[in-house]
Symmetry: C2
C-alpha cells in the first residue's frame, strides 16, 4: 500500500492509491451474523462469488446470542400460522408494523417486508430451519418450549388492537429452552459452507471502504494479523457488521437515553464500525437516537394484572403492552421512581420467576401504609387504585385501555416492586439506528441518492424496526435475515 | 468545469477535476446570518480575506427574524447583570446549561461558551449592539420594552433552581417592541461592510464542497444566476447556512416529532444544505432528532397559576417552566388531549393577550361539569384539583414543585383551554441537530477526527443547545454569534 497511515472506518481509501489488490471477489460481506449469512447465500445463489469477513473466530453475531424468534406473517399466513388456525392479512401486518415504527416508519421497506414475509418463512424452512406447527398461548417474552407461534408484541394491546386485527407472528425454532439463536446460526453456517461460491475469512477486521474517482465503493481494507490488505469487490460491499451498542462513546453521542439501561444486548463486534464506514462515503445514518430499551416485567403473565405507577402515584400505560413499550413509557415520564403494584397472589407468581430482578420497594396492609413506605404523597396511590378497582368492576379500563382479560381487582395487602431504572431491575437495551437504505439494501445519502457499490443489512442499516415503543420480539432477526437476503440478491445483479 | 453533472450538497467535487478557479479567497463563509456575520468579522480581524456567500438578496438569516435575545452571563456578570445587581457565577451558568442540554450535553463546548460569555457581551457591545442597564422583571417570552435583562428560561423553576443559583441571562437589545433581530443584523452588517477584507456575494447558492486528494476541504461550488463557479478557499470554508427546519422531508426523516408543531421558525434558506455538505465529506451530524418545540402559553404571567392536565385529568409538569419545556412534556405524555385549567380571573388575563391562540375546551360551575365537558373520566380532574388546592393551602406543590409564588387556589367556576397540538394553539418548532464540531468550530467525523478546512457555526453545527426541555430564549443567537466568532478566529490561524 502506498499509504502508511492506519486505515480507519471514518476515512475511505482511494482506489487510485492502491497499486495491487490482495484479494478479489464479486461481493465482500462484512460480518457473519444472520444478515451477513443470508446475504451471502442469496448472492451466491444468484451466481456471484462472495467472501465474508468476520472479526470473530466463528460465525454467529448477535443473531446467535438471541432467541432467533422471527417476526413473519401476512399473505394469508405462514405455514405455521395456517396450521394453528390463524389467518393473517398483509394489510393488518403492514398496519401493525407502521404503528410500531411510529412517525419515522419507512413504508416502502415495511410493505416489502410484509408482502414477502410468508415467502421468507418458506425460504428459511427451505434452508432447514425447523418450525413446529404449534401455538404457544401463554404471554411470554420468549418461548421456552419447542412450540413455534406466539404473540411477541403489543398486537392484542391498545391502541394496536383497535387498528390491526391481532395475529401472532413470532416464530420460535423447534428447540427446547432459549436456544434458537445458536441453532439458527448453525443452520445458516452450514448453508454457507456448502456453497462453493462463498469463502469465509474469520478473525478479519474490516477497516475502511475503498472508493474510486467516481465515489463508487469498489473494495475494502481488511486487517488479518498485523497486515492491512486491500480487497477488490467487483460487484459491491455489503455491511452486516451490527449496530453500535458496544461503543459506549457512540451511544452517549447518538442515543444517550439508552444509557439509563444497564445491559447492552449484542456481541462485542457491535462497535458501529459498519455504520461509520457507510457515513465516511456519504451514507446517511438515520434514527440514531432510537433504541430498544426495556423493563421485561413478565413472565409471569399474571403480573399483567397489576398496575405500574410513577412517583406521583399515577398510572401512565396499559400494562398489557410489550415490555419495551412499557420501558420507553417509563423513560418518557417525569419523576424518578416507578413501582409495579401487585396483590400478594400476583407477587407470589412473580417470585417464582424473578426474571426482572426487581426488589420489593414496599408492602402495605393498607394503601396509606404503602404510600408512606414508597414516599408517595398521601391519597395519590389510593386515588389511582380506587379508580382502577372501579374500572375493574365495570370491566373497562377507562383511562389506559388494558384489555379486559387482564383486569384484576387490587385487593389488600399490596406489594410494590421497584421498577426504577438503575435500582436493580434488568434493563436491557440495543440501538435501532443505522444507515438509510432502500428496500434493496442499497445505501443512500441524505438526498436518497444511491451510493454505488455499497449495501447494508441487519442492524448496520436502519431497518423496519424504529422504536422501543413499537418493538416486538422477532423483528430484529426477521429484519436481519430478510434485509440480508435483499442486499445479496441486489448486489448480484449489478456491474 | 470538466464535470457536466449538477453539483449537489451530498456529493463533494474533487479539486483534481477543476481546471481553473473562478474565485479565490482565504475564507469562504456560507450564509450571512448572525453566525456568518460574526465569523467573517473575526476572520478578517485576524488578517484573513473573507467572502460571504448568501443565497438571499440581503443579510439576515434566522437571526434577523428572531428577537435577538442573547443568553450571556457568568464571570461575575455582564455589565448589565452587574448594573442590575445580579452576580452571576460561571459555575452556575455551566450547571444550568449542562442541565439544559441533558444527557447529550457537550461539556467542552458549554464550558468554553460560559467562560467567555461576559467577554462575548463586551465584544458585541464593541460592535455597537446597544444594551440598556435595566432589568425586566415580568415573566415573559420576549421583552417588548427597551429593557435589557430578563429571565428567559427555567432558571427559577424546579429542578434547575435546586442545582444552579438562578440568574437572568437573557439580554434584549435596547429597542421597543420585538425588533431586536433586524437591529442586530443591521449592526453586524455595517461591521462587515466597513471591513475591506470582507466581500459579500448575495443571491449566491452554495452547492457543494470541493476536496483535494487528502480529503481536505479546499473550496466550494457556488451558483450565481445559471452559472456554477468554483471558489478556492485557501484557509477554509465555514458553513453558517442554518438548520433544516424548512426541509420537511428532512425533518420527517430525522426529527419527525417536530411535525406535531404547526409553525416552523426560521428563514426559507434553512433547508439543511450546510449540514448535508458537511455530511458529504464525512462530517458527523448529531442530535438530529431533537428540536425546539413549544406551546408558548405565557404571557400573561398569571396563567402560570393554573394547571396543565392530560386527558386522564393528571398534572405532569410544574407550570412555571419555560414554554418549550412544557411543550416537550406534552409530546412525551400518553393520550391525545391537553388542557390548561384556569380560574375566571386567570382566563381574563389570558384573553387580553391570546398570544397562544388556544380556544376554550370547556367551562364548569362545578368540577364534575368541567370533567363532562372535557370528556374526562369522572373524579379524575376533581382529584387533581383537590390535591393541588390542598398543596396551595400548604404552600408547597408536593408533586411537581411549582414555585410557591405561582401557587394559586383553583376556585370555581373554571375554564379549560385546549393546548392539544393540532387543535389551534400556536406550536412553533425548529431543529437543534447539526454537524458535530469542536469548540473551535472545526467539523469532526464520527470518531472526532477533524475534517481539515471545514468549519460550521450557528444552527448548521450542533451547538450548546440540545433539547426543547432545556432551551432558554437567547441561547440560539448566543450560540450562533459565539460559535461564528470561534470558527472565524480558528480558520484565520491555519494553512
Amino acid at each position: 500500500m502506498s499509504d502508511t497511515k492506519k486505515a480507519t472506518p471514518t476515512q475511505p481509501r482511494h482506489a487510485r492509491d492502491i497499486t495491487s489488490w490482495d484479494r478479489e471477489t464479486d461481493v465482500a460481506v462484512v460480518g457473519f451474523g444472520g444478515a451477513g449469512g443470508c446475504a451471502a447465500i442469496e448472492a451466491a445463489d444468484a451466481g456471484a462469488s462472495v467472501t465474508i469477513f468476520e472479526v470473530a473466530s466463528a460465525s454467529g453475531g448477535s443473531t446467535a446470542m438471541s432467541s432467533a424468534e422471527i417476526y413473519m406473517g401476512g399473505n394469508g399466513g405462514t405455514r405455521v400460522q395456517k396450521a394453528c388456525g390463524f389467518e393473517d392479512s398483509t394489510e393488518d401486518m403492514v398496519t401493525y408494523m407502521m404503528m410500531s415504527a411510529g412517525p419515522q416508519a419507512d413504508e416502502a421497506k415495511i410493505r416489502n417486508y410484509c408482502e414477502n414475509s410468508s415467502a421468507h418463512f418458506d425460504w428459511l424452512a427451505g434452508l432447514g430451519v425447523p418450525f413446529k406447527d404449534s401455538f404457544h398461548a401463554e404471554r411470554a417474552i420468549m418461548c421456552l418450549t419447542d412450540d413455534c407461534l406466539l404473540y411477541t408484541g403489543s398486537e392484542k394491546a391498545y391502541p394496536f388492537r383497535e387498528q390491526a386485527k391481532p395475529c401472532p407472528r413470532g416464530h420460535n425454532l423447534e428447540i427446547e429452552g432459549d436456544n434458537g439463536g445458536p441453532l439458527f446460526m448453525k443452520i445458516v453456517t452450514e448453508n454457507v459452507e456448502k456453497r462453493d461460491l462463498i469463502e469465509v475469512e474469520y478473525e478479519t477486521r474490516a477497516l475502511a471502504l475503498i472508493v474510486n474517482d467516481d465515489s463508487e465503493v469498489v473494495g475494502l481494507v481488511i486487517r488479518q494479523g498485523k497486515q492491512e490488505l486491500n480487497v477488490r469487490a467487483h460487484k459491491g460491499v455489503i455491511l452486516c457488521a451490527g449496530g453500535f451498542n458496544m461503543n459506549e462513546e457512540m451511544v452517549q453521542k447518538y442515543a444517550p437515553k439508552l444509557l439509563r439501561g444497564n445491559t447492552p444486548i449484542g456481541n462485542p463486534g457491535d462497535t458501529g464500525t459498519g455504520i461509520m464506514m457507510g457515513m465516511s462515503v456519504g451514507g446517511a445514518a438515520i434514527n440514531m437516537h432510537e433504541g430498544f430499551i426495556s423493563i421485561p416485567y413478565y413472565p409471569p403473565a399474571s403480573i399483567t394484572g397489576g398496575i405500574l405507577v410513577n412517583d406521583k402515584g399515577q398510572r401512565f400505560i396499559n400494562e398489557d403492552v410489550y415490555h419495551s413499550r412499557l420501558g420507553q413509557a417509563v423513560l418518557d415520564q417525569p419523576g424518578d421512581r416507578f413501582y409495579f403494584i401487585l396483590t400478594v397472589e400476583q407477587y407470589g407468581d412473580y417470585e417464582k420467576f424473578n426474571f426482572m430482578g426487581a426488589s420489593i420497594a414496599g408492602t402495605g396492609e393498607t394503601i396509606a401504609e404503602l404510600e408512606e413506605e414508597l414516599g408517595l404523597r398521601k391519597d395519590t396511590l389510593a386515588h389511582t387504585i380506587n379508580i382502577y378497582n372501579e374500572d375493574v368492576e365495570a370491566g373497562t379500563d377507562s383511562l389506559f385501555h388494558k384489555a379486559p382479560e387482564w383486569l384484576e381487582k387490587l385487593t389488600l395487602p399490596l406489594v410494590a416492586l421497584d421498577l426504577t431504572p438503575g435500582r436493580g431491575a434488568f434493563v436491557p437495551y440495543f440501538t435501532l439506528g443505522g444507515l438509510d437504505t432502500l428496500p434493496t439494501g442499497e445505501v443512500v445519502d441524505p438526498q436518497r441518492n444511491v451510493i454505488t457499490g455499497l449495501y447494508a443489512a441487519g442492524r448496520t442499516a436502519c431497518g423496519v424496526v424504529r422504536r422501543a415503543d413499537g418493538y416486538s420480539s422477532g423483528m430484529s432477526v426477521g429484519d436481519a435475515t430478510y434485509s440480508g437476503r435483499m442486499s445479496g440478491k441486489q448486489v448480484a445483479t449489478t456491474r
